[in-house]
């Protein structure tokens, strides 16, 4: 099987990206706990920033730009650079540095230390993206989240909601990214072992959707339990993507501002007079942007959510169609027919506990010829199990086989006449049949 197609290369990128996002999310929970509990400040860094730090070193190590074992100096320098970015993320730390207090600046914001840790973890993720490593990341990381969650309980009551919200969102991100990465890596590994092209079935799509459903299913009641808004669940799933989108927009805005300033200078150089930039006073005098309540924005929000939801579904469908078409072009002569059939009793709950004992047989009372024969059979079955009448045996064949005397022969004859021939039996014959049953019973009991 070829593993060099565009889809495979995409998957090759997706797995480390998901892995570093999971790393970043875990470190974000730790950072939030430290920042709110020890420093009593609102956290500045999030999953995206810490993931970016891990991703930077992962990319550098993957591309062999960075060789930690062979060139440790460059590795340490890169880590220091990441640490400095983390430390100076806080404006107070920057002020302290500018004021000439580098030690205070270093100790002011713990984000730098965690960026450093993220950088070190990223190097490991550059290579270790197999299913075992990623499963271990989730299975060990998930219970390890207990430590920052426990630590965060000591944060001040004012910052407790901030901690809970940020830690919950990052924990959900960790759960989503970690399980998706582990699942995709497992599918890739299974595909390698079995020769099954995972693009040609729906396991990956089903798995991603199942994980999202699981996260939403867990997240919603958990958010209610933690007294958080429901949108925290959506943020937990989408925060890295939305954060990255925000950074992209900011970058575009910066580029656009730069281009606009160059254009303005160029226009001025041609003698055109442009209005001067607005001063802060003029900006302050601008008409205030009206504020809307959630109730007022409910309609537009719903429309935006629906449109985005449809776009996502459309994207998934198109991606799926494209991948199936690619897989179909790549060969395979087997045709498949898929259908859904619910077997009868599929939703019956399994019986819990011990199986019910069989109902005891009601003893037959000999009142007439037929019941006398049936009572005789019951007596034979209980006294001599080997002589019991088989389901496939006729009364006459049974009587011949067991040879219990004239009583059973006469009883079976009466039974056959009454049941099979449908002929009435006279009252004296009924009495004689009951007498025969008694004699047979006494003989059997006597041994």
């Amino acid at each position: 099987m070829r593993w060099s197609s565009l889809t495979d290369r995409l998957l090759g990128w997706l797995l480390p990206v998901l892995a570093v996002v999971a790393e970043g999310a875990f470190l974000a929970v730790v950072y939030v706990a430290v920042e709110t509990t020890l420093d009593a400040r609102v956290p500045l860094l999030g999953t995206l920033e810490l993931s970016a730090a891990a991703g930077t070193t992962a990319l550098a190590a993957h591309r062999r730009w960075l060789k930690p074992d062979e060139e440790p100096t460059s590795f340490v320098l890169l880590l220091l650079g990441l640490g400095i970015v983390g430390w100076l993320w806080s404006s107070e730390a920057r002020d302290l540095l500018l004021a000439g207090n580098p030690i205070d600046a270093l100790l002011h914001h713990p984000g730098g230390w965690l960026m450093l840790v993220a950088g070190m973890r990223g190097v490991g993720r550059a290579e270790l993206t197999d299913d075992r490593a990623l499963t271990r990341l989730v299975l060990v990381g998930l219970p390890a989240l207990a430590a920052p969650w426990a630590f965060g309980q000591f944060s001040s009551p004012a910052l407790r909601p901030v901690f809970t919200d940020a830690a919950f969102v990052s924990s959900l991100t960790f759960l989503t990214a970690g399980f998706t990465a582990a699942g995709l890596a497992r599918l890739q590994e299974i595909g390698r072992q079995t020769g099954v092209d995972w693009r040609r079935d729906r396991s990956w799509l089903g798995m991603v959707l199942a994980i999202l459903a699981l996260v939403v299913g867990i997240g919603l009641p958990a958010a209610w339990l933690l007294d958080l808004p429901a949108d925290a669940v959506a943020r937990g799933i989408l925060e890295p993507i939305l954060g990255a989108l925000g950074y992209v927009l900011v970058t575009f805005a910066a580029i656009a501002a730069f281009v606009a300033s160059i254009l303005a200078r160029a226009i001025r150089s041609f003698g055109f007079e442009l209005p001067p930039p607005m001063t802060p006073d003029q900006i302050a005098r601008l008409q205030e942007v009206p504020k809307y309540t959630v109730e007022q924005l409910r309609g537009p929000i719903v429309v935006v959510v629906v449109v985005w939801g449809l776009l996502i579904v459309l994207g998934v469908v198109l991606l799926r169609v494209w991948m199936r078409a690619r897989a179909r072009r790549s060969g395979g002569s087997a045709t498949e027919e898929r259908s859904f059939r619910i077997p009868p009793g599929a939703f019956r709950l399994p019986r819990v506990g011990r199986p019910r004992p069989p109902r005891p047989a009601v003893p037959v009372v000999a009142r007439d010829a037929v019941s006398a024969y049936l009572a005789a059979l019951e007596e034979i079955r209980s006294r001599r199990p080997g002589d019991a009448r088989a389901p496939s045996e006729t009364p006459r064949a049974h009587a011949t086989r067991v040879a219990l005397g004239a009583e059973l022969a006469a009883l079976q004859a009466d039974y056959a006449v009454a049941r099979y021939a449908g002929r009435p039996i006279t009252p004296p014959e009924h009495r004689r049949a009951v007498e025969r049953w008694r004699r047979l019973r006494d003989r059997l009991r006597a041994g």
Partner: protein, 411 residues
């Protein structure tokens, strides 16, 4: 270890509940859930999985395409991310679009199929077996394996599902270079105790004892003398096709063989049997080679009954190229199998010198013996047989047994 994590998760839930930290309880719950989730499929994945394999036919002719359906049905609510079915099939089986993998069973390969199944989903996969090789192909048992999605755990179950596909050799028309060449095994029967009333042969003078219903009344009236009907004697030709599957000179127990010649012999034998049966004779088969299934030789008694060609082709399909008996021994057994007066057609692709004596003995015992030589040395073989006093012909499949349009016989 798993129990330790479970206890850890439970502990977190209890502590979180006790100190009023729902976050801790959440992490504890997630820990328990993840531990339960990673081994979910190795515990429950194989339950209520129905698997079936159906072959379009159990007999095919070389070159046919045999449809095969594999049906798998997930009869439960739990989706199965990956179900692998390893069917242990004969390693020479060819399935279009599939390459057989290795198997731990000797002579077997693994036909691997994999699916991902949603809840209650039933999938019927259609494959095509390319019958490009004669023989007996066994299918089964099938090993079903379910893999965990987040762990390397797997669970397997083996289902027997035995099946057999018999690929018979191809059969081509038999042509003679000479127009007047008599059909194989066709010899005049001079007399018989019994006559065939369906084959009217004329009239003869009435003889004392002729039954009244045998008198030809119209001819009697015309000739003014009583005449009786005359019928052809009953003659059921019995032809036994003895195939010498030793293709390399030397001792038979050396187990040397020329695979192409063995296949050519099977094609020629099937073609001759079809021709003999079509000519109205009873045809049987005798060969001494290892057969798939363990038998060391095969004998199909001569009969012209419907289905005889199928029986012969079934035996030829089971032929393996390892000779188990010297051909001379096999020919010596003919008198115990065939009534005197029958015909023996010996089909061979090697020098007939080693079994000339048995052929001569058969002739002396009243059997009509024809030797048909196949292969590149057929002319020399024919000469040898004729020099030994046996009627001999050559047969050729040009350009080869795969592409030949006819089996051409020449005197």
């Amino acid at each position: 270890m798993a129990a330790g994590w479970t206890l850890f998760g439970l502990g977190l839930i209890v502590i979180g509940g006790a100190i009023g930290a729902p976050g801790l309880a959440l992490v504890g719950g997630l820990t328990l859930l993840s531990r339960w989730l990673i081994t979910l499929w190795s515990r429950f994945g194989l339950e209520s999985i129905a698997f079936d394999r159906r072959l379009g036919t159990d007999r095919a002719v070389w070159g046919d395409q045999v449809p095969m359906e594999i049906e798998v049905w997930n009869r439960k609510l739990l989706p199965v991310p990956l179900l692998t079915a390893d069917d242990h099939v004969t390693d020479t089986l060819r399935v279009a679009g599939h390459t057989l993998g290795p198997s731990e069973r000797p002579g077997r390969g693994t036909l691997r199929n994999a699916w991902s199944l949603l809840w209650f989903e039933r999938v019927v996969r259609r494959l095509t077996i390319d019958a490009r090789r004669r023989g007996v192909f066994l299918l089964g048992p099938v090993r079903l394996t379910v893999s965990d999605l987040f762990d390397r755990g797997t669970r397997s179950d083996e289902r027997e599902l035995p099946a057999e596909l018999l690929v018979r050799p191809r059969s081509v028309p038999v042509r003679s270079l000479e127009r007047a060449m008599a059909p194989l095994g066709n010899h005049r029967v001079p007399a018989s105790l019994f006559t065939d009333p369906a084959r009217f042969a004329g009239v003869r003078p009435y003889q004392r004892g002729d039954p009244m219903r045998r008198i030809h009344w119209r001819a009697t009236a015309r000739t003014h003398a009583p005449v009786s009907r005359r019928y052809e004697p009953v003659r059921e030709r019995q032809v036994l096709l003895a195939v010498d599957l030793q293709t390399v000179p030397g001792a038979y127990w050396l187990m040397l063989f020329d695979d192409e010649q063995v296949e050519a012999l099977c094609v020629a034998a099937s073609s001759l049997a079809r021709r003999i049966l079509r000519d109205g004779a009873a045809c049987g088969l005798l060969l001494g080679t290892q057969l798939a299934g363990g038998r060391r030789w095969a004998y199909v008694p001569p009969t012209a009954a419907p289905g005889q060609l199928g029986r012969i082709d079934d035996v030829l399909a089971r032929v393996q190229p390892i000779v188990s008996l010297p051909f001379e021994t096999l020919l010596d057994a003919v008198p115990r199998l065939l009534l005197p007066g029958g015909s023996v057609v010996v089909l061979s692709a090697r020098d007939p010198a080693p079994y000339l004596d048995p052929m001569r003995r058969l002739r002396g015992s009243g059997y009509a013996v024809d030797h048909v030589a196949l292969g590149s040395e057929r002319e020399m073989a024919r000469r040898t047989a004729r020099d030994g006093g046996v009627r001999a012909r050559t047969a050729r499949l040009e350009p080869g047994w795969r592409d030949a349009s006819a089996l051409v016989l020449a005197d």
